[in-house]
């Protein structure tokens, strides 16, 4: 089978970097499997319970970079109890024991304790990058250990984590010898920060390209920091508040002019709009702008800012921009590829300032748009059909109408036709989130047309099992399906049980599936874990099998039921 020596094949494999492709390559033959596994350095594990840490180490002994995801996606929205699982510690323990040469760790929705961070910092001499997204369970003490012990740290990236802030001077724990930082993202930290220690750290990090500050860093400190890092490419401001007539502010204005490389900007949780003119000079270079945590920037201040940003490729904003503001975006940002519009009032239904008009304007003005997350007041079929015609490049299309079952307000019809147009037109669509009033028909369209679909999120939609069946039968590439509050039951669940082994996971909550249905599914399927999340003791084992299950999460796995499941989680 092999016409080349192993080293040559290994060299060729070195050019294959995507996980999917490496996985495919490893399936060709035994020899390729062996060569591939011995040379794989980056491993992606989409579900930390699909395999054990020992299993990973056994297969990929040369592992250097690990990506791990824990809790199901709906945990982001409080649908999964806190101690459900997704615990990091066993992974660090196992890797340390086997002396894995870990250099990079990227985690999403995992429970990360200070102990695990400390063990990590002491076990891997060449550790370089820690990225934590939507994690919890740690404090600044854990960060202090990482700072103190990881001598070659390049990247410390904390995104939207719940961090217990002990206000210790953890930043001061970076030794004077640490000069390797390239990326430091502290935006989610809530407590005070030792500003002079931070400034000194930046001063001795000549390779620093990305710096995102927390709100504890005031404007005058920002100025001092920028003086030390004019080479920054990505900046997140702290508190952007000062008297525009002051010396400090004028100094900042001058300093910013020196930062000619900034392409990405974020922050502004606290902002005095009168101070924004300081950043106008760098706007024309920006390719990425995240104002989704800046409720203080709105109206004309927001518009003025955006009008300077002609090169934007990625824009995250709040819906206070309004439909008119989106019109300005459409006429200004011709390079736009990704747009996210978040609600400025997260609890308000009916207060969103954007409607279908804004989206239509964007679709007409931004031909390169392929990724969308849009929270809006309302949507019409006509608008969706127009959007589908204007933009057939969508790979990610996530629409959230704040009132989850709202029909087309003009025709009072469900939004089936609109979403149908989207899936029919966007042949490369990989991720889709639905909302609004929807019948089984939309799922018929999805099953028929969404051939590349990998992830689908459904809420308050459909009429019968047929809906779910259309999707399971039609979407051959489906990997993640999450459904809440929809009338899909056992018939749909059990029609093709083999399907779930081709997927990463299925989540169903507040649907019609019964305990009996779940039990049947779990029977004789060692490759699946079917977990019932049993809050408030709704179900016990003597329960009638006909009782409906509140929350079910099933996923394929090589290692059977997990041993760390809490009391309220049953693996059937």
């Amino acid at each position: 089978m092999n016409y080349f020596p192993d080293e040559v094949i290994e060299h060729v494999f070195g050019f294959i970097t995507s996980h999917k492709e490496r996985n495919a390559v490893s399936l060709v033959c035994k020899s390729w499997y062996k060569i591939e596994r011995m040379s794989r350095q980056r491993v992606f594990i989409g579900n930390c319970y699909a395999i054990s840490p020992e299993g990973v180490i056994a297969r990929f002994p040369e592992l250097k970079s690990l990506t791990l995801k824990g809790k199901p996606h709906f945990a982001d929205f409080n649908l999964v109890p806190h101690d459900w699982g997704g615990i990091l510690y066993p992974w660090i323990e196992a890797f340390a024991k086997s002396r894995v040469g870990l250099e990079e760790l990227r985690l999403k929705r995992m429970v990360v304790s200070d102990e695990s961070l400390e063990l990590l910092s002491k076990s891997f001499v060449n550790f370089k990058a820690l990225v934590l997204v939507s994690c919890e369970g740690f404090s600044t003490d854990g960060l202090a250990a990482v700072a103190a012990n990881c001598r070659f740290l390049r990247e410390l990236d904390l995104q939207e984590n719940e961090v217990e802030d002990h206000r210790g001077h953890w930043i001061s724990r970076f030794p004077e010898s640490c000069t390797s930082l390239v990326s430091l993202n502290l935006a989610c930290l809530k407590g005070e920060i030792n500003l002079s220690a931070l400034e000194r750290l930046v001063a001795r990090s000549p390779n620093l390209k990305s710096l995102r500050l927390s709100r504890a860093v005031p404007l005058d400190a920002l100025q001092k920091i920028l003086m030390r890092a004019p080479q920054l490419v990505d900046l997140g401001t702290g508190s952007f508040v000062h008297d525009p007539a002051s010396d400090a502010y004028n100094k900042l204005k001058a300093t910013i002019l020196k930062c000619k490389s900034i392409k990405s900007l974020s922050g502004f949780l606290e902002v005095a709009p009168r101070c924004l003119s300081a950043i106008h000079p760098i706007c024309h270079n920006l390719t990425s702008l995240n104002l989704s945590y800046a409720p203080g920037i709105h109206g004309n201040d927001l518009i003025k800012l955006i009008q300077h940003c002609r090169k934007l490729e990625r824009l995250w904003i709040l819906d206070c921009i309004g439909d008119k503001g989106l019109g300005i975006v459409a006429s200004t940002c011709k390079e736009l590829q990704e747009l996210r519009v978040f609600p400025s009032d997260p609890y308000g239904v009916g207060n969103a300032a954007v409607t279908e008009e804004g989206l239509v304007a964007i679709s007409a003005g931004c031909p390169k748009l392929h990724s969308l997350l849009y929270f809006c007041q309302q949507m019409t079929n006509a608008a969706l059909i127009t959007v589908a015609k204007n933009c057939s490049n969508f790979t990610r299309f996530r629409l959230c109408i704040l009132d989850p079952i709202r029909p087309d307000p003009v025709t009072m019809q469900p939004l089936d036709e609109g979403f149908g147009a989207i899936v029919q037109s966007c042949k490369r669509l990989r991720r889709l989130s639905l909302s609004g009033l929807l019948t089984d028909r939309v799922f018929l369209y999805i099953g028929m047309y969404a051939e590349q679909l990998e992830m689908l999120s459904i809420a308050f939609a459909g009429d019968s099992d047929k809906g779910m069946l259309y999707v399971l039968n039609g979407c051959k590439k489906l990997r993640k399906l999450e459904i809440r509050d929809s009338p899909f039951g056992d018939t749909a669940l059990l029609m093709d049980v083999g399907k779930y082994e081709t997927m990463r996971s299925l989540w169903m909550s507040s649907c019609e599936v019964t305990l009996g249905g779940c039990k049947t599914l779990a029977k004789n399927r060692p490759m699946l874990n079917v977990e019932i999340i049993n809050e408030d003791d709704q179900i016990d084992f003597s329960s009638d099998d006909r009782q409906k299950v509140g929350k079910m999460y099933l996923y394929r796995t090589l290692v059977g039921p997990r041993k760390d499941a809490p009391e309220f989680v049953w693996t059937l």
């Binding site: 649908l79 508040v241 008297d243 409720p295 978040f342 997260p346 609890y347 989850p404 079952i405 019948t439």
Partner: protein, 176 residues
């Protein structure tokens, strides 16, 4: 296709203004109602009295005092981190003004000013340069501090009252 909605109370006669797809006067289908009855959701916030997992707050309710719209758990689908951050920011800026007492040495009467009005200014302190007075404040710990040393937000959060001191007394507090 109608989705069931169950209303919290009858007094507001929400049914009469309900937006539905059926003809006026037609009944609501029962099938979804049985589903939501079984699922007496413990997740609904305390304000809601209904059993349904959704309370439909239509547009036409805006003129009446809205019944506490039941917050559906996990909807809209926004990360808790984002929700908490924006909500905290909102609470801060929504505060009903921050009034502190201001006393001035030698003046018989005190005043009260709203610190929130001065969103980011320390410029009032500049006005004291060269005069014999210095603005000071008492912080949460009971210590008297010179106005202007700490970032504005820290000042706002810790200032309990202001005192405009005679220069001679303020010297000990640091450079004016």
């Amino acid at each position: 296709m109608e989705r069931l909605v169950k209303y919290e109370s009858d007094d507001l006669n929400l049914k009469a203004t309900e937006l539905r797809l059926g003809l006026p006067g037609s009944d609501e289908p029962e099938k979804l109602s049985s589903r939501s009855n079984k699922r007496a959701s413990p997740e609904i916030s305390q304000e809601s009295k209904s059993n349904s997992s959704v309370s439909y707050g239509g547009n036409d309710e805006q003129d009446s005092a809205p019944p506490a719209k039941a917050q559906v758990v996990g909807w809209p689908p926004i990360r808790s981190y984002r929700k908490n951050t924006l909500q905290a920011k909102k609470n801060e800026s929504d505060g009903a003004g921050m009034y502190v007492k201001v006393s001035m040495d030698g003046a018989p009467y005190l005043r009260k000013i709203d610190l929130k009005v001065y969103k980011c200014e320390y410029s009032e302190r500049e006005g004291y340069n060269g005069s014999e007075y210095a603005p000071t404040y008492e912080d949460k710990d009971g210590d008297w501090m010179l106005v202007g040393d700490v970032p504005w937000n820290m000042f706002i959060n810790s200032c309990k009252r202001l005192r405009i001191m005679k220069g001679s007394e303020a010297i000990g507090l640091g450079c004016a």
